[in-house]
């Protein structure tokens, strides 16, 4: 359903879309039944000349079952949804699979800064690559991210990943994703962050291993050239 509007580009996008499907089926059924009964009753029991309404208290046992049976069924549906929701949640947000690579995501009014590992493949070293409003990741690798904010709340949202996480100043929040599809997609800020909130977009560029390596090489070449000029 969602995948027809937004492509799935992460390993857990399918899980979340599946959960949405399940909920749609269960609540859709209830919704249609309830609407159907409502309109049927309004039609069936419309006022007719000389016909008096029935006197039903709804407190007798055989009357109550019309409420208590749906009640139990709703409860059952709830339990199914709870179980599936928690399963997806634990997978996406609570457990962290082993990382192949790491990125730092720094949000501020109103821009995103991304820190990628440089040619040495490690984050937090001299040769890290910093970009603004452009996140480069390699398809198929599991990434851990550290999300921080420099000023107010922001939210790192990648619709194609079905991933969203608020950034809170003072906190480091970690999470993970594994891109599964190459392409260039939107990154949004999904938490009100001031006047420029509407402009705080970025792009995620998911590349094949070769393309990613080429980008890293090109960027670090540029970086070296720049620092070389700065420190003759």
């Amino acid at each position: 359903m969602i995948e027809r509007l937004v492509p799935q580009a992460s390993s857990f996008a399918g899980d979340i879309d599946g959960l949405i499907w399940l909920i749609t089926l269960l609540v859709g059924f209830w919704f249609l039944v309830a609407e159907g009964v409502l309109f049927w009753l309004v039609f069936r029991f419309r006022a007719k000349k000389g016909e008096k309404a029935q006197y039903i208290t709804g407190e007798k046992k055989e009357e109550m079952k019309w409420i208590s049976r749906p009640h139990n069924l709703v409860l059952l549906c709830d339990i199914v949804i709870i179980a599936m929701a928690i399963k997806v949640w634990v997978h996406v947000k609570q457990t962290m699979p082993t990382a192949d690579a790491k990125v730092n995501i720094i949000s501020q009014q109103w821009a995103w800064t991304f820190e990628h590992a440089g040619p040495d493949g490690k984050l937090g070293t001299e040769d890290d690559l910093r970009t603004t409003d452009e996140l480069h990741v390699e398809v198929g690798k599991t990434y851990h991210f550290n999300l921080v904010s420099r000023d107010v709340l922001h939210s790192f949202s990648v619709p194609v990943f079905r991933l969203k996480q608020d950034a809170v100043p003072g906190r480091v929040i970690t999470g993970w994703f594994q891109p599964t599809k190459t392409g260039t997609f939107d990154i949004q800020c999904a938490e009100m962050c001031g006047v420029g909130h509407g402009l705080m977009g970025a792009r995620i560029i998911i590349e094949s291993p070769a393309a990613h390596a080429a980008w890293v090489a090109e960027r670090s070449g540029e970086r070296l050239a720049r620092t070389g000029e700065a420190k003759p």
Partner: protein, 572 residues
Amino acid sequence: MSDAHAHHDEGWVKKYLWSTDHKIIGMQYLFTGMLMALLGGYFAYAFRMQLGFPNQPVPGFGLVSPNEYNALVTNHGTIMIFWVAMPVLIAAFGNFLIPLMIGCDDMVFPRLNRLSYQIFLVSALVLLASFFVPGGGFGGAWTAYPPLSSQAKFSLTPAGSTLWLLAVALEFVAFLIGGINFVTTVMNSRAPGMKWHDIPVVIWMIVIASIVFMASVGPLVAGAVMLLMDQQFGTGFYDPIRGGDPILWQHLFWFFGHPEVYVVLLPAMGIVIEVIAVFSRKKVFAYKMVLYTAFATGILSFFVWAHHQFVAGIDPRMANVFTVTTLLISVPIAEMLFVTIATLYGGSIRLDTPMLWAVAFVAEFLLGGVTGIYLGSSGSDIYFHDTYFVLAHFHYTFVPIAIIAVFAGITYWYPKMFGRMLDERLGKLHFWLTVIAFNFIFIPLFITGAAGDHRRIYDYTKFPDLARPELQNLRALATVATVVMLSAQVIFLYNFFKSMRSGKRAEANPWQANTLEWLAPSPPPHGNFAELPTVHRGPYEYSVPGRDLDYWPQSDPPEDDAAPDAAPEAAR
């Protein structure tokens, strides 16, 4: 108001502005709420136009700048919840109905009641003032998350955010005072013979809502004091750099914010159940079950707040707890709707305007209810959080609550309020235009939300994935529908004010209803009843077998010989 009661010597100011009469105070709340609704609707018009037709001057507003856009969405939300839904559903209907429906002459503390309205009025004026200060109105969303709301260097609205906060805090004070008055009145001043189970559902709902409000707003009052100190006195309660915690505000806010949904939902449900019983000539199906579900909802509503914060940086383990509680609250709410629908069974349904609104409430609210499941279950909320899907969901709850149910209430009690009938034809026209346009606003927004539209963005052209023409067409459709829905309200206003002068005169009980307010003349004079009534039976004894009339007012003395074999519950 009717001329028949103009013989009082009091001046106009004393009678209408300085009155302690619960009916006048109810009207004050109603008219203030209606004015604020017009303002909130105007705001919606301005920002919807910007979204539907980006960066073109909006007729009647001009070009919408980003900070104006933020102030518009923030204050649209704040106004519609705190200055429309609350005053109309709780204060206006509560004030007007409670003394009439429980059969007494006024609220227990009439002067406190007047004070409550005056504080409310001041709060509305403070909010209005906040739009005109340097920097403009507050634009940090109605949730006012710090540090954006607490530090002017981030929000760029140094005065606007403080005035906004003050206005909200004053509004809370007004409703605390009003709520205490409501609860005390219902507990103590019921007509002789009116036992707990003879109280009409709508009164129960207003009382439960008032108690839920009272119990949930406390932490936020404390939180608002702390936020005010952060804004103006240099404290760092929510400043992480100085040992504070922005997440604390989120908890304080939503501990109130979620019960608040039920604070307005319950009175709306009460109005709808009242109308459905009268217009289907049926006893409310399982009256006690309605009360139990209302209690259960009220209590459970305190346990669910953090589902607004699943991805806000709270500990992910807590999300599991709140998913369970959130989905469980669907059980009493679903049951309340089932009971409402079941009441229709076997009825003799007349589709007058109030009934149309009441049925529409159930039909529309169902969609709002079921879409809540997507957001309450943590796994799918990761995607839907802060998208237009959320927005469409809560508009499918709040519009039925604050608009549809309110229209059901106004059209139903209008004869009692003003002594005249509304025009049915205009009423039905207004109904169909409003309800159809409403669906054309928010169904498209469900779709754009599912496609990834995130909230509070003034221009989607900056997001390549969202700037697709098919999404933009949906946004434009929603905007056009908004304009239609807002225009339809002109019909209502015309009908409302014209009928006040020239509508058909209403008798005391035009709908042939049972509850006590219909015993009083229309409109009721000061003191309400010629002789304070005594209650002999429950409020929903419609179509009792063995009686010629299909209704049986609560105050009618029992006819021992007239209906010897009536159902025992009925003849108690």
